[in-house]
């Protein structure tokens, strides 16, 4: 018999650095892998998604123009703060994904280390992806990677923390801001990640986390004119085609979903960063 009744957490959205309930007033029941009640999560609406896009656009200027060194430190700080909440993440991942304590620990370790990996990338991208171009004329000509802008991310449905971090961190490393629709069935680690982000020097609005149904919110994000790119990794089965068609309306960059959810423990490579980067080329004449 516990000597104290636990104080349960209210799981809310994370939008523009704050934790609002859904404006719709809707919630849905989240259960553990065996079907036992865990929490009532906020069920994000179209309006919540639109608010999140406004927040992400508002945050883009500052985040994209922060120095690469600064962005790297902020992402590293996320890893530091996550480490302090290690036990909590293990509990939530174990419950939501039905993992053993040992397996959950491995997943949480990998999620924290993934932030560290991407933190180290921010100030390497320009030298690895940029170039000085030897044009046939008296010009200095160089190309540099720049962030695409506001990226909508449909997070993986199965891997609720490692998968989420694996799709979110590369978007941020390049200087983009994000609107994420979390795993529908397993949203709780995402909300806790929001609490980490809120206390890790990540400016409000850079990451916005919407718990709810990608099948419902995805189309609004895919056709939103102020969203520059969409990652369909966690698109509900059978909906990717429709979402990609909607995204074509404003020439969004689209990352198509894999045939099945990948092994998130594998080496991530640079592909998820380069997908959400543009190349800018600048010319200037040489002369005395």
């Amino acid at each position: 018999m516990p000597d104290r009744l636990a104080v349960r957490k209210t799981y809310k959205l994370y939008v523009n650095g704050a934790f609002p309930r859904s404006e719709s007033g809707r919630t849905y029941e989240v259960t553990d892998a065996r079907g036992a009640f865990l929490a009532n999560a906020a069920h994000a609406s179209r309006k919540d998604a639109r608010d999140a896009v406004v927040a992400a656009r508002g945050a883009f200027g500052k985040w994209s123009r922060a120095t690469a060194y600064n962005r790297g430190q902020v992402l590293y700080r996320v890893a530091e703060v996550m480490e302090g909440r290690h036990a909590q993440f293990c509990e939530e991942v174990a419950a939501g994904e039905g993992l053993s304590a040992g397996r959950a620990r491995v997943v949480v370790d990998a999620a924290i280390d993934r932030w560290v990996w991407y933190a180290g990338w921010t100030d390497k991208l320009a030298s690895v992806l940029g170039s000085a171009n030897p044009v046939a004329g008296p010009f200095f000509d160089f190309s540099l990677p720049e962030p695409t802008g506001v990226v909508a991310v449909l997070a993986p449905q199965r891997s609720s923390l490692l998968g989420l971090v694996s799709v979110l961190a590369p978007v941020l490393a390049g200087g983009n801001t994000a609107v994420v629709v979390t795993s529908r069935e397993r949203p709780l680690p995402a909300v806790t990640l929001g609490e980490v982000l809120a206390t890790s020097d990540v400016p409000g609005g850079v990451v916005n986390l919407l718990t709810g149904d990608a099948a419902e919110i995805g189309p609004w994000l895919a056709e939103h004119d102020d969203v520059d790119a969409i990652d369909l990794t966690g698109a509900p089965a059978g909906r990717a085609l429709e979402l990609e068609r909607l995204a074509a309306g404003s020439i969004k960059r689209v990352l198509r979903p894999p045939a099945e959810e990948p092994d998130w423990t594998a080496d991530p490579g640079t592909g998820r960063m380069t997908r959400f980067l543009e190349t800018k080329t600048v010319w200037h004449p040489k002369g005395v």
Binding site: R65, L129, V135, A136, T279, T281, W283, H284
Partner: protein, 480 residues
């Protein structure tokens, strides 16, 4: 204002090029009949019919894709990369050898001044093949893993503004990376692509590696939608780009798009005005303004507005509009009656919405499609001529007071292809260049292109790059 000097005509001879009365499709190394109703291509400067061009149907496109697939599987894919490179070097050399022929043909079919086709389009097209030839056996060094692989068959649809150059931008990287090609040239400018087919034959390029299927929108759609095409590359309008992105959605096809633009050309008060005026002219009147990256929105700092506009008008008064084959011509013919109608419509709307139209006194030929260089002042950011791509020799002038305002106005567009900055202050160039949401920024210059320099857009100007190491990524699957 009458012209400053009288120039005697200096026409380039058109006898260097033979235009056949009709052309077929180039499929599997042979010219074959098209199944569609043939179309005519006209000289936009005279409305003279130049030739009758075959139109490819779905069945024709299917044959071309099959030929490309066969060539990819049996010949081009397995070929030693160094040999692929050698074929491209050959093509580059033949383009140089036959440069005058290509230049004259391009000006005949497109209407652009011979000075531009001779000095820009054709040499750059050859340079693109020469540049990419060298990549063919060095792809492991392109930053795409140790063994990047081609996609297979590339379906490519190109516009009428730089017919041969856009062909080169598409075909050279596709072949260098080991893909084979089905190319659909623009409806109104097929001739240089068909002459290029002859270059492929002279180079002994294996049949099926390059297939050229002429036609209009339906033919292009058949190329894009063919299910055995692995990679789609398109240059053209944002509207068509959208429909292509929809068409390839949910398929395995990889897509790159190079679409429209509404570039800001920003002139600060400390800019060297004479150089800036040359740059403004080059930015908007180069190629009759039929340039996706044209500097069509001039943003002038308020304090120098009157000086810049007076100087610009003086300069525009000396531009020669007329016979594209005359070596003195600065501005040639508008490419088609349809495009001319669009330019007229948008210009009329500009006036109706309250902007002030200025055009120099300018004698235009009686026949053909012509539009004088045009400057709109008193343009507000809400006017259609400040928002819509005119794709003609029409400049919209807006003003700004502070650098922040210049950046905000420059970025106030759904496009993001290019931009220009004119100032003597280096730190300002770099700061403004950082903040412009555009894929190419020209500082104290405009409309420069080079095969080593990545080109492509932000936002609704498309995605993917052409040129440089970055351009190879569009045609390769990364290896791990």
């Amino acid at each position: 204002m009458t012209s400053l000097f009288e120039y005697a005509p200096a026409p380039e001879s058109r006898s260097i090029v033979d235009v056949a009365p009709s052309y077929g499709l180039f499929v599997d190394g042979e010219f074959v009949d098209g199944s569609g109703e043939p179309m005519k291509t006209v000289n936009p400067a005279t409305e003279e019919v130049l030739s009758e061009i075959a139109v490819g149907t779905e069945a024709d496109v299917d044959r071309a894709v099959k030929a490309a697939r066969r060539a990819f599987t049996r010949v081009w894919g397995p070929m030693r990369p160094a040999d692929r490179g050698k074929y491209l070097f050959r093509i580059a050399r033949i383009l140089q050898e036959r440069a005058r022929e290509f230049a004259v043909l391009e000006s005949l079919d497109n209407g652009k001044p011979i000075r531009e086709s001779r000095d820009v389009d054709v040499p750059l097209a050859a340079a693109h093949f020469f540049y990419h030839a060298g990549w063919a056996d060095k792809l492991a060094h392109a930053g795409l893993g140790p063994d990047p692989r081609p996609h297979g068959v590339a379906g490519q649809v190109i516009p009428w503004n730089f017919p041969l150059l856009m062909l080169a931008w598409k075909v050279a990287p596709a072949l260098a990376t080991g893909n084979t090609v089905v190319l659909k040239p623009a409806e109104t400018t097929p001739l240089t692509a068909l002459l290029f087919a002859e270059v492929c034959r002279q180079a002994d390029l294996p049949p099926g590696v390059v297939n050229i299927v002429t036609g209009a929108g339906d033919t292009g759609r058949a190329v894009v939608e063919h299910e055995d095409v692995d990679k789609v590359a398109f240059t053209g309008s944002t509207e068509v780009g959208r429909s292509i992105a929809r068409a390839v959605a949910g398929t395995r096809k990889v897509l790159t798009l190079e679409l429209g633009g509404k570039a800001a050309n920003i002139v600060f008060d400390d800019a060297p005005i004479d150089q800036a005026v040359e740059g403004i002219v080059r930015g908007i009147f180069f190629n009759q303004g039929h340039v996706c990256c044209a500097g069509s929105r001039l943003l002038v700092q308020e304090s120098v507005h009157d000086e810049v506009i007076a100087s610009l008008q003086r300069r525009i008064g000396t531009l020669r509009v007329g016979d594209p084959l005359d070596k003195n011509t600065d501005i040639g013919a508008i490419n088609s009656a349809e495009q001319l109608a669009r330019i007229r419509e948008l210009s009329d709307i500009g006036e109706a919405e309250g902007a002030h139209r200025w055009q120099p006194v300018c004698e235009l030929p009686d026949r053909g499609f012509w539009f004088p260089p045009t400057v709109f002042t008193d343009v507000s950011p809400a006017h259609r001529i400040a928002r819509d791509e005119v794709f003609g020799p029409v400049l919209s002038v807006l003003t700004f007071r502070t650098p922040d305002e210049a950046v905000a106005k420059a970025n106030n567009t759904t496009y993001g292809l290019s931009a220009g900055i004119w100032t003597e202050k280096g730190s300002r160039i770099l700061a403004i260049a950082d903040r412009l949401r555009a894929g190419v920024v020209w500082a104290n210059t405009f409309n420069q292109f080079d095969p080593t320099s990545p080109f492509g857009g932000y936002k609704q100007s498309g995605y993917g790059r052409e040129g440089g190491r970055h351009g190879l990524a569009a045609y390769l699957k990364e290896s791990s």
